[in-house]
C-alpha cells in the first residue's frame, strides 16, 4: 500500500519540494520545522541552479523554467550563467569545466575577454575570458522557499512552524508517528530533510548518516546597473546579480562548527567580508564603487564525500543535499517523493547517492579529515 499520510521533517528547499510533490500526488502531507520556512541554508545561499555534477541535473534543468507556473508564485528564476576568469589558472580551470560539460552533452561556450566584457559590462580589463553555460541559471532563495510553502498550502498541505521534532513512534520497524513540541503526527511514511539536524534525527531511527557542519558567508552590494545576464561569477566566487540589481556573492574558506540539536541560534559573519569584497571588486571592477550593505552566514551539512544522500530505509526517506540543495530542490523533491511512494526514483538512477557508501566509516572520520570546530 502506498503512503496516504506523510510527515516531512524540515521546511527547507528539499523538504518543502518533497512535500509539494507528494501533495501533487494526492498525499496528505504535514511539514514540521523547528523554525520558519527556508530559514537556514535554503534561504541563505547563492541561488544557483546549474548542478551539472548531479544525477538530478536533467530534471533540475527541465523543471526550473516551469517552476513559477507550477508553483503559482515567482521564484525569480533567470536562465544561463557566465563564469569569468581574472587569472590564467582560473581560465584553465573554466576551460576544463567547459570541455567536461560538452563531453557530457551540456552545452558550454568559450568566451574571449571581449565577449565577456560585451555580456558583462561590469567586467574590467583584467578579465581574461570565460565560459557561458547554456543551461542552469539562478533564482531567489527567499522567494522560492516561500513559493514552495504557499504552493503546498494551496494543495491542502500543512506546515507547522516552530515545532521541533522530539521523537518518533515505531511499530514493526516502521515509523507510525512523529512527535514534536506542537503535538504528535501520525504517518504512513516520514521524510527527514532537516539539514544539519538530519543526522541526529536519522540516528534516532537507527540510520547512520555521517555529517559535519560548516559555516559559510556571503555579501551583498547596493544595486548595480542591470546586466543582460545576472548569473555571472568566477574568481573563486559564486553568486548572482539579483533582479533588483544587487550583487550577492559568496565563497572562500568555511569554518567547521558545532551546535545543539535545535541548530545554531546565531549565524555570525566574520571579517571574511573583506576578502569576499576584494574578490568581487577584482571580478567586477565596474562595481568596485558600490556599497556593501550586508553580510550573512549560513550553516551547511556535508557528507564525507560532499555528495548528497537520498535514500530510504523501511518507511523513512532521508535526504541531505550536502551543500547543493537549493538549486536541485525541484528535482530532489521529485526523487524523494518517488522514493516515498514507489520505493525508487522514477526518472533517473540515484544509486550512488545511497547511504551504504558510508557503511563501516570510522567513527572519527571528521578528525582524520580535520573537519572539526576550532
Amino acid at each position: 500500500m502506498s503512503a496516504q499520510k506523510v510527515v516531512v521533517v524540515g521546511a527547507g528547499a528539499s523538504g518543502l519540494s518533497a512535500a509539494w510533490w507528494l501533495a501533487r500526488a494526492g498525499v496528505a502531507v504535514t511539514v514540521l520545522d523547528k523554525g520558519i520556512v527556508g530559514w537556514e541554508a535554503s534561504g541563505r545561499n547563492g541561488g544557483g541552479c546549474s548542478h551539472y555534477q548531479s544525477p538530478l541535473f536533467k530534471e533540475e534543468q527541465r523543471l526550473w523554467p516551469q517552476m513559477d507556473e507550477l508553483l503559482g508564485y515567482p521564484t525569480e528564476f533567470s536562465p544561463e550563467r557566465i563564469v569569468m576568469a581574472v587569472t590564467p589558472r582560473q581560465l584553465e580551470q573554466y576551460h576544463y569545466i567547459a570541455e567536461m560539460n560538452n563531453r557530457l552533452g551540456h552545452r558550454v561556450d568559450l568566451l574571449d575577454a571581449s565577449q565577456v566584457r560585451e555580456a558583462v559590462p561590469l567586467a574590467g580589463d583584467n578579465c581574461l575570458g570565460g565560459i557561458h553555460y547554456r543551461f542552469g541559471g539562478h533564482a531567489n532563495p527567499h522567494r522560492t522557499v516561500q513559493a514552495y510553502a504557499w504552493a503546498l498550502q494551496d494543495l491542502g498541505g500543512r506546515i507547522v512552524q516552530h515545532s521541533p521534532v522530539t521523537g518518533f513512534q515505531m511499530a514493526g520497524g516502521k515509523v507510525t508517528a512523529v512527535e514534536s513540541t506542537s503535538g504528535t503526527y501520525e504517518c504512513d511514511a516520514v521524510v527527514i530533510a532537516a539539514g544539519p539536524q538530519t543526522g541526529n534525527l536519522a540516528a534516532q531511527l537507527g540510520i547512520d548518516l555521517p555529517l559535519a557542519n560548516a559555516r559559510a558567508e556571503m555579501i551583498v552590494t547596493e544595486p548595480a546597473p542591470m546586466m543582460k545576464l545576472g548569473g555571472v561569477d568566477g574568481n573563486g566566487l559564486y553568486g548572482r546579480q539579483t533582479l533588483r540589481g544587487n550583487l550577492a556573492y559568496g565563497g572562500g574558506p568555511h569554518e567547521w562548527v558545532e551546535f545543539g540539536d535545535l541548530g545554531p541560534e546565531v549565524k555570525p559573519s566574520t571579517p571574511l567580508t573583506r576578502n569576499l569584497a576584494r574578490r568581487l571588486a577584482e571580478l567586477l571592477p565596474g562595481a568596485a564603487h558600490l556599497g556593501v550593505i550586508r553580510s550573512w552566514a549560513g550553516v551547511i551539512e556535508m557528507t564525507p564525500d560532499g555528495r548528497p544522500v537520498i535514500d530510504r530505509r523501511e518507511n523513512v526517506t532521508v535526504c541531505t543535499m550536502s551543500g547543493v540543495g537549493f538549486g536541485l530542490s525541484p528535482a530532489s523533491g521529485h526523487a524523494i517523493s518517488d522514493l516515498v511512494l514507489e520505493g525508487k526514483c522514477s526518472f533517473t538512477d540515484i544509486e550512488k547517492l545511497g547511504l551504504s557508501r558510508f557503511d563501516g566509516i570510522e567513527a572519527d572520520w571528521r578528525t582524520s579529515k580535520g573537519w572539526l570546530a576550532l
Partner: protein, 485 residues
Amino acid sequence: MSERGHDPHAIDGKFPAPSQHYHTVVIGGGTSGTQAALKAATNGTRVLLVDENPVSGALIGTDVPFFFGGRATTAVQNRERMVETVFMNMPWLEPAFEAGIDVQLATTAWGVYRNGPLVGSLPGQVVGLADADRSWLVGFDKLVIATGARDLPLAFPGWNQPGVMGAKALAMLLERYDAFAGRQIAVVGSHDLGLETALLALSKGLEVLAIFEVRDAVQGNADLAAQVAAAGIPVRCGVTPVEAKGGLDGVEALVLSDGTALDCDSVVMAVGLVPMIELNDAANGPRRFDANRGGWLPETSENIAFAGSCAGLADTGFDHAAYRQDWMDALGGACGGDTIICQCEEMTLADLTGLQPPRYLDRPPALQQRSLKTLLQDGPPNQDQVKRLTRTGMGQCQGRRCRDQVAMILAAEAGKSLAEVPLSTHRAPVRPLSLKVIADWEESDEMRAGWDVWMGIPTQWVPYADIGTPYEEENRRRLGGAMAL
C-alpha cells in the same frame, strides 16, 4: 584514534592578527565617548577614539546614518573642508588630544567581531574601521560603543522628498557640519526632542514656524516648554501633518489635519530617537527592550560597554513607544495604500500589508491572495521574513528609514507589543562601504592559497556519470579539488 587532519580550505589560521592593538577603543567622539576615552586613558593605556563624522556626501545622500532628508548643502561634498569644520565644532576633543589619545575623525566603525558561537577562527576580538580610502581591523581589550541615537522617521504622504528629515540630522548639520540648506522649518513632535530641536534651530537663525503635537498638550518638560513659549514658537496640539507638498527642490508646504497648510522648506521629524545598537547587534551582543529609553538597548557583555544615548535615552518616565505609536496612528492614518514606506526599494504601504513583491516581478493571482494577515496565520511575526518577501528595509540605507515603522506596523497587524516582535537583524558592515574600501587588499597568503569557491571537497563536483571512471581522477587533477585557485 586518528590524528587530526588538516582541511586546507577551512578558515583555520587564515585570519592574521590585526597589525594595530589598543587597550581601549571608543567608537563615537561625542561628549560621552570622549569622556569614556579620557577615563580609559588615565593609566597611560593606549586608547583609540574614532568618530565617523564627517560622513561622506554620498552617505548623507542616502540618509546614513541620520535622516538628512536631502537638506545638506553642497559643502558636505568637500571632504577636507568638512573635516576641518567638524573638528572645529568638537571642542570637547581637545582634552583627548592632550591626554595622548589617538583621535581619528572621518573614521567609521563598521563591524565588531569576536570568537563565540559558530566562530572560533578569529585571532582575538577586533573592530573593523574604515576611512574614505581603505578599511582595516584593530584589536582591543575593551570596547566602548558611544554611537549615539539615530532618527526615527515615520511615513506620511510626501515624506519621501527632500525637506522631510530627522531632528538628529538637523542637529548634526547645524552644530557640526555648518551645512543645513533649509530656512523655514516645521517640527513634528513636542516632547523634549521636538522642543530642543526648535530652540536649536532658532538659535541658528532659522525660522521655526510651528511645532505640531499629536496629543492634546505639549509633551516636553516645563522648562523647555517655557523657553519655546518665550521664543514665540507656536505649538499646535492635536494638529498633525497629512501631506508634504513640494516641487523640484522638495518640500514647499505642509498640509495639516485641521485643513490648513503651512509654507515651509523643511519638516523635521522629532517624534523620537533610536539608540544606535547596530554594532552590538551585528556582533550578536545581548539586548533588551525598554520603552522609556527608546526601544531596544544594548547590554554590556564581556569587554564591551556602552556610553551616552546609544546605551538608552534618559529615562524621564516618558513612554516613548506609546508616543511613537500615537504618532504612527495619526501619520499612518493620512497614508494611502500608495504611500511609499521603503524609500530605497520603493515599496508602498499596500505592498507591505499585502506582502507583495517589487514591481519588477509579476503578481500572479495566488500571490495576490496572500497578505501580511495570511502570513501571520502561519506563525508569529518576523520582520526579517517580511523583509525577504517585500524587500522593505533591504535597501542601501540599510533599513534606517523604515525598519522601525515596519516593526510597528507588523506588531500592530499581529496584535502584539513592539517588544514581542523579534528585532530585524543588523548585519555588518553597519555602514555601506564600497567594495574597494572594505576589501582586504593585503590578505594573508594563507587566505589567497586556501580560497575555494565551495568547501574544496574534491569528490563533490565530479559528474555523476564520471564517478569511478578515469574521468574522476582527471577531474581531481585538473581542478585540484572543487575550484582551488
